[in-house]
Amino acid sequence: MRTKVGQGIGLVLILLWCLFPVAWILSLSFKSVEEAAAGSPQFLPKDPTLDTYQVVLQDADFQRALINSFGISLIATTLSVILATLAAYAIARLDFTGKRVVLSIALAIAMFPVVSLVGPLFDQWRVLGLFDTWPGLIIPYMSFTLPLAIWTLSAFFREIPWEMEQAAQVDGATAWQAFRKVIVPLAAPGVFTAAILTFFFAWNDFVFGISLTSTTDARPVPAQLAFFVGPDQFNAPTSTLAAASMMVTVPIIIIVLLFQRKIVAGLTSGAVKG
């Protein structure tokens, strides 16, 4: 009993610690521009208003950035997960020369500081005509998320007993059918984990988003936020920014809640002897 009470208190403390900034942004987003800039902060808005949301939503640039963000993140996630699934399967199941090299290079790429690549990429993309385009952002997102996705997925594939595939082959499946009908469904938790990680990276990225774009043709939301302006140069658009932040946070929360159900541990239980 006592441990349960202790657990409860601990949980509440951690939740407060984590969620207080979110709550602060939420309350800020309901304050009017003037109130947020007034300089005497109180937690609850004196005069709650939805004006800020209206302003953000009606901002054509923000709408465009939202589309960019969704499009780029979804494409990067899809491509990355498909490629990572195939690569991870090969790494987990096949013996080929250079397997260790592939894995170590993948890890090295994941550890590379993002900022150090911005300069060279900027130059390359200008030459190649990829600057300020969707592919110009999708490619770097993929190259940074693929290694993590490959490592995650190959760990999942290794957990799946070989016999599953062999059984499928004896039952009359081609290698591809065995992969698609048996292995991929069993690795689904891994696939979703990889998808979430990739989507987060792409959705939250600011460095590439601000450096490799110049117009709303490809600029994602986090970068677009930097272009918000207040009523005049002495009044920062704090509450509008807060409203925009809430609007980009909500999709992430929804996606995580949706995918969370798919990440059921122990999906392979029952495959083999009990």
Binding site: P161, E163, M164, Q166, A167, A168, Q169, V170, D171, G172, A173, T174, Q177, K181, V182, P185, L186, A188, G266, L267, T268, S269, G270, A271, V272, K273, G274
Partner: protein, 411 residues
């Protein structure tokens, strides 16, 4: 359904290790053949070569008259039950059983349904069809794995130690079930096991393997009564055959416990060979005090000191330690190692009538039916007293087993 012919099958791994050496087995259409041997004898490898999960280094694998060496598993049309069942955990029992049919693509939905329901009725899985394998017991999973195998009319069934993950009681039940199923469907079956009880009870014929070589291919009765060498003699039978140092003089055999008379024909075969190993099964001994005088007088008796007894209700075992000379000891230790066992001491195991009241730690008079004694050459391990010559013997003599067929099966 089809016959499976294995001709001089060899499996050699990259490091030169030969897991299977020149094994030839003919499995007739509808026959139930067991591959048995201690771990590492190559039995599972051989089975996996039949189904196509393992490449064949040399030799011919012929299924239904067609050489399948280079065919993919799915083109061989065989059904296999894996040791760990390998059920698809994301599919229901129904879909697990239907899986091979859906892949075949030439069945309509109603045909699939009919076949699945027939298979599930056979295996009494009807009430579990909508459940996932994760929620089933070990025995139920085993039946689902069988269901997946029987649902399509494959050319043959292959079993890879299907019962080894079940508890003893369930294993006995499933053994009978598999036997009944195979008899009813009349389908060619190859069954791998390390359990000699399964081998003896299920098989029309049994192939005993050791370290990649086939030692003997024969009916269970033939294996039991006429093992071709020490290994087969020691492997088949529980408790195992007793091996004792022996020397033959005339028609008398000198054993550690005394001299016994053997048939003249057997004595003649072992003449002048010096020190031999005598093999006598536990049930060929008896407590002389519970037998009638006339029978005892016909055989030989000796007195021995009983160390421990085990009373099991229907019978009892008595253990009698003895010292073996070093020449024989070396061979017996090696044999024990081949059989996955560990010899702690040389001892005689005798099976006595359960009515016998043998006091532990005392000397009793034991009767031995010496006519059933086998004599083995200690250096080669060959049985010198095989009574009926048979063509389907050992792989060492590289005899082909072409003359054997389902017709020779006497069960």
């Amino acid at each position: 359904m089809a016959a499976i012919e294995m001709k001089n099958i060899v499996k050699q791994y990259g490091d030169g290790f030969a897991a299977v050496n020149d094994v030839s087995i003919d499995v007739a259409d509808g026959e139930f053949v067991i591959l048995v041997g201690p771990s590492g004898c190559g039995k599972s490898t051989l089975l996996r070569m039949i189904v196509g999960l393992e490449d064949i280094t040399s030799g011919d694998m012929i299924i239904g008259g067609e050489r399948v060496n280079d065919m993919a598993p799915r083109d061989r049309d065989l059904a296999m039950v894996f040791q760990n069942y390998a059920l698809y955990p994301h599919l229901t029992v129904y879909e697990n059983i239907a899986f091979p049919l859906r892949l075949a693509k030439n069945f309509s939905e109603s045909e699939i349904d009919e076949k699945v329901r027939t298979a599930s009725a056979t295996l009494e899985l009807d009430e579990h069809l909508d459940r996932k394998p994760g929620n089933l017991s070990g025995g139920q999973r085993q039946r689902v794995a069988m269901g997946r195998a029987i649902v399509r009319d494959a050319k043959a069934f292959l079993f890879d130690e299907p019962l080894s993950n079940l508890d003893a009681k369930l294993r006995g039940q499933m053994r009978t079930e598999i036997s009944r199923l195979q008899r009813r469907l009349g389908i060619t079956t190859v069954y791998v096991t390390h359990d000699q009880t399964e081998a003896m009870t299920l098989g029309d014929r049994v192939a005993v393997l050791r370290r990649g070589f086939m030692e003997q291919l024969a009916t269970p009765r033939e294996l039991y009564e006429n093992p071709v060498n020490l290994f087969v003699a020691g492997f088949i039978g529980s408790p195992p055959m007793n091996f004792l140092p022996a020397t033959v003089e005339g028609d008398m055999v000198e054993l550690p416990f005394g001299r016994v008379k053997i048939p003249a024909e057997k004595a003649a075969r072992a003449k002048g060979r010096g020190l031999l190993i005598a093999g006598i099964r536990p049930e060929h001994f008896e407590d002389a005090s519970v037998m009638d005088r006339a029978t005892v007088a016909e055989g030989s008796t000796f007195r021995a000191h009983v160390d421990v007894t085990e009373w099991l209700g229907d019978q009892q075992y008595a253990y009698i330690p003895f010292e073996a000379p070093p020449e024989v000891q070396a061979q017996l230790t090696q044999l024990e190692r081949d059989l996955d066992g560990e010899s702690i001491r040389t001892q005689l195991v005798v099976s006595l009538d359960s009515a016998s009241r043998v006091p532990e730690g005392e000397e009793i008079e034991l009767y031995v039916n010496a006519a059933k004694m086998h004599l083995f050459d200690p250096s080669t391990g060959d049985n010198l007293t095989v009574t009926s010559p048979h063509e389907e013997t050992s792989a060492h003599s590289s005899s082909t087993s072409s003359s054997s067929s389902g017709a020779s099966v006497a069960r």
